[in-house]
Symmetry: C2
Subunit: 648 residues, 2 copies
């Protein structure tokens, strides 16, 4: 508490401001952000306030004025075109020269004699003289003379009323006793942080030949297919050597059979650890070639960053202090009593040697970034490692490589997920996977986009993952697969899918569980990569629409629309600058056609009722002309959604 301090202005309740500035506001380059605060002073004097911001590496601050919004709230917009760490603060002061100017004008208007006031004004101009030169200085000097000379009283009155004197005071503020807010952190990321389309498959299932272990070379051949479908991020489960001790068998069996390939998340063996590649997938050259080819096709390879070790990971011998040891001399494997996971040793972050441990983990991330051009990490179970570790690791990586993105795979409690986002994760897996009805979807999306979370939590919507085969997909019903992908890809600008099973409607589950039967987590499978299913075709069409429509490349620009049917979900999104508007309606009933009347957001678009609107379905290529505020929609399970581009 600054208890003795002559400042008169109070700056409070700044928004956005994440946990009092402990964490960064997140935006992407060129995305404007509206900053506001309570700004007030004692008395009735004229206040001014500015926002100052800059990239941390810059020397010069950019300054924009704030305007009063009513009720002592002030606001303005800031924007940066450069990625990287930024900072901003607010500054506000009682502006004596302008206060004098506006007061004196009122006195003149009331017919008062203001001789003494004019002399005061001259003093204010004198204070500015040292800051200006040339013509401006000559003018200012002549104004002083006018104000001080009784003979030019009437001229002086005109000067007080003039814009030029007001402009001088505005341009050269004294900032006497200015109050400053704390410096607040702000991270500007590249556009992909907000707009990305992910595809996931297991490299070991990439072979064209059934029964053969896939390789990076096989993956490389599949890249054109992934690109053609409109995906820009290809995520692979871990590609490191897989532990041989306590290896898991098919369908998560505790005893592996000879030939079982194990779980790729059981990382490390005598063949190496987190900085090695699984030899059956290929060597470093193969991996690099694949990453480069992907890049040339507009695809980034997202690597899995999974911080755990198989019992035969090299660290267990080289750095035993990074694991917890039991009194009987054995290493502590993962457990959630009474369950035991003997194929995995968790890393012991409470170790006294934690600084070396953190450094080694950072070295791993930097190795893949710097040696192989990896620019995206999907982080496995970040919620089982300390939050501060992630904050530190990501800041360290992004300090050198601000373009590197991190997706948090934390399907856990809300505040844990939010904390990871605050610590710096670019994107987060989300509850979308389980939100199916209209109420749930609306509530969840509003929570993400209309609360403080919109400033730091970027959800990524996945209909499925290798870990989650949700009950509603287990029927193998095609309509619900179409519906869920359309929802994921339009509600959220970040979306992803565990692709092969999805495209082929493979959805057999372990009975009673949301887990895939014959899961690729424990075996490799064979997919007909040449086959184009109806799903593949429509997913591709949706992805291409996302690429063409700026309104679908953001998440927070969403409003749900009234539609008189519980099975129909309708919403619209917009990008006013790009003049792009979309309107989406989805039939949530996978079995029956549903119809209803959607309320078209004419007022939001700034158009009059009766005006004609043309809507163009980006998948079917049909278009419709709407003249009314309520328009009829009918959607059949065979193609259960409209993604309309709106034109008028």
């Amino acid at each position: 508490m600054k208890i003795q301090n002559q400042e008169r202005v109070i700056i409070e309740n700044i928004s956005p401001c994440i946990e009092n500035g402990n964490f960064s506001l997140k935006t992407i380059a060129n995305q404007p952000v509206f900053v506001e605060a309570d700004i007030l002073a004692d008395g009735h004097d004229h206040l001014r306030a500015v926002l100052q911001f800059k990239a941390k590496s810059d020397k010069k601050w950019q300054e924009v004025p704030l305007s009063p919004l009513g009720n002592d709230r002030w606001g303005t917009t800031m924007i940066s075109e450069n990625e990287g760490t930024h900072e901003y603060f607010l500054e506000a002061w009682v502006d004596w020269p302008l206060n004098w100017l506006f007061g004196t004008r009122k006195k003149i208007d009331a017919g008062q004699h203001v001789k003494s006031e004019l002399l005061e004004g001259a003093e204010y101009i004198k204070d500015i003289l040292k800051k200006i030169k040339g013509k401006a200085k000559t003018a200012a000097e002549s104004w002083i003379a006018t104000l001080e000379n009784e003979a030019t009283y009437n001229e002086a009155l005109e000067l007080v009323k003039s814009d030029s004197l007001q402009q001088l005071f505005f341009d050269f503020p004294t900032k006497h006793l200015a109050a400053k807010s704390p410096l607040l952190p702000w991270k500007v990321e590249r556009k992909k942080a907000l707009f990305s389309t992910w595809y996931e498959f297991f490299p070991r299932s990439a072979s064209e030949t059934a029964g053969k272990h896939g390789t990076f070379k096989d993956c490389e051949k599949l890249l054109p297919r992934v690109a053609a479908m409109g995906f820009d991020t290809l995520y692979f489960p871990p590609v490191h050597p897989i532990g041989e001790v306590n290896r898991k068998g098919k369908n998560n069996a505790t005893d592996a059979q000879p030939g079982d390939v194990g779980s790729p998340w059981g990382i490390g063996s005598k063949l190496g650890g987190h900085m090695s590649l699984h030899p059956e997938l290929g060597n470093e050259a193969d991996f690099k070639s694949m990453v480069d080819t992907a890049k040339s096709l507009g695809i980034e390879i997202a690597m899995d960053f999974a911080l755990q070790a198989a019992p035969d990971h090299p660290w267990v011998k080289s750095n035993p202090q990074w694991f917890k040891w039991r009194p009987d001399g054995t290493a502590q494997y993962a457990e959630n009593p009474p369950k035991k996971y003997q194929d995995i040793l968790p890393i012991y972050f409470e170790t006294a040697d934690w600084k070396n441990l953190w450094d080694e983990l950072l070295r791993i991330a930097l190795y893949w970034v710097e040696e192989f051009g990896i620019s995206v990490f999907r982080v496995d179970n970040p919620h089982t490692k300390p939050f501060h570790f992630w904050g530190w690791l990501m800041a360290k990586v992004q300090e050198k490589h601000p373009h590197v993105l991190f997706l948090a795979e934390a399907f856990t409690r809300p505040k844990i997920m939010e904390q990871l986002a605050k610590q710096g994760f670019t994107q987060s897996y989300s509850y979308f996977t389980w939100r199916t009805n209209k109420h749930e979807l609306t509530e969840y999306v509003n929570e993400l986009t209309k609360t403080e979370r919109k400033h730091y939590f970027r959800a990524n919507f996945w209909p499925n993952t290798p870990d989650i085969n949700p009950f509603h997909l287990q029927s193998g019903n095609e309509s619900i697969h179409l519906q869920r992908y359309a929802l994921a890809a339009t509600l959220s600008s970040n979306t992803g899918v565990y692709g092969p099973v999805y495209e082929h409607l493979v959805s057999d589950a372990i009975p009673g569980k949301e887990e895939y039967h014959d899961s690729e987590k424990y075996e490799f499978r064979h997919w007909d990569w040449k086959k184009e299913t109806n799903l593949s075709r429509i997913m591709a069409a949706i992805n291409h629409a996302r690429r063409e429509m700026p309104s679908l490349q953001q998440t927070n620009n969403i409003e749900f629309l009234e539609i008189n049917n519980q099975h129909l979900l309708a919403f619209h999104k917009w990008d006013f600058e790009a003049k792009d508007r979309s309107l989406i309606v989805v039939n949530l009933d996978p079995h029956y056609a549903q119809n209803g009347w959607v309320k078209v957001p004419l007022a939001h678009w700034g158009i009059q009722a009766g005006h004609t609107v043309r809507v163009y379905d980006v998948v079917t290529k049909d278009s419709y002309v709407w003249n009314e505020e309520h328009c009829y929609i009918e959607l059949h399970p065979v193609l259960p959604f409209h993604i309309f581009k709106v034109e008028f």
Copy 2:
């Protein structure tokens, strides 16, 4: 941002916490406060959290455990019986011994062999050995032996399941890597901060004889009357010498006539300044005698702290640097262009000599506290002096004299009023004076009692002041005077009235303004202090009910009740500990009887429908028996309210 840090627990969103701990939470002695926070860690380990608090002058912290409330929110209650500055913080850690205990119990229940786990448990007990002695130590040593000895395996299992081992771990936590919240300030004040009943009159109008200037001696004679009416705080406008230069005349005339007494807020003349008394009122002995007599009757004299000077205040010569001087050599009087207030010089807080100025103003406050036993200040226009000054001044006074209370007279914009409360004002005049209809009253009271404001802003509800003769009172209608006092005194536990005009229904106004005609601000008046009006009698009855009913001695314990008539306002208040419940209904229509059915809050009181409730009207002494959830109420303008004490 603590970026490198091995702690695993996060503590966030603490409530209450005023502006991130920049300002104090306020409570009164023995008032419990529920503290909550988000507390979370990575993984699934067992967490524990405590709240620590103490008076700033104490050495020893008091510790209370927090309990999980769901959704990673934790909470507990703290309470202090001592006035003064306190502080509190939260501390949370992963509790390894308890984590081990609960995990091992699950393994035992699942029939697993836990030999290795038992050895681990022995280690946890060994860590505690050094903290305990005597019997506890002997027991702990025997437990270690049991856990380590294979021969006592079954005994060891029983020990793991026992409460005694759990209690040991609970009582002697390791607090390994504990996270701590920032230290937060908390001010505990005496009960009067929350429950006070103010009466205001002008000492110069206290004479029994018409046309005679009143004195402190006259005031002293009136004290028994004030006490008998149930008031505990008697506020006097400034009692210092009144400026003679540019003195105001009757009805705010700019030219005083000979004999005009001027405004007591025009402080200072050749007779003295803020540390002198106006000679016509009496001397220091008279003043002291009056203050002491008041105290003996349970009344505290509230002094006006008005920081401004008449043009002939001694400071103008002795400390000219504390005023603003114009280029023509004259002092800057108060103005709000084009209006000018030539009888008042504002203090120039931007002076370079501000530290001496602040010290002198503090010396004034301490003088009246220490020499005359003044314990309450009503601060005039605090919103025209810097906020930080007030924060400093009040902290300084209360550091030595924690019982001193400050009421902020700031009828201004909401955020300015809130800021003054944050800086430390005990109580604040409020918008009640202008909130008249059911919607306005409900909304305003909910704003004060259901938002963060309840932790720092204590409203004082005044139906009128010498500055405000609100339009609705100008009719002189008795019913609305009864209604407004009943509302003020039951909605808020802090209430006050500018008494003589109110009791005598004197409400003549300057036409079109909310100002009293022949205002006592500019002249003294004569009141018949012997007369007991209907208003005096009922105001006294309300005051006495407040003294007897603990539920009326708090403000935040309020819920409005459904009642099917726009003119009837109903609410209830409670003090569960004192087993006191009140139910209030007020007829807001001063002209007609109104009736309706109030919904009785049976569920809130924890009683079944059909159960009999007896309500006792504390003013009329009537009582009613209610059997239903909806009860009939009819109120006439002649006595437009019920204050019921509820019994069952």
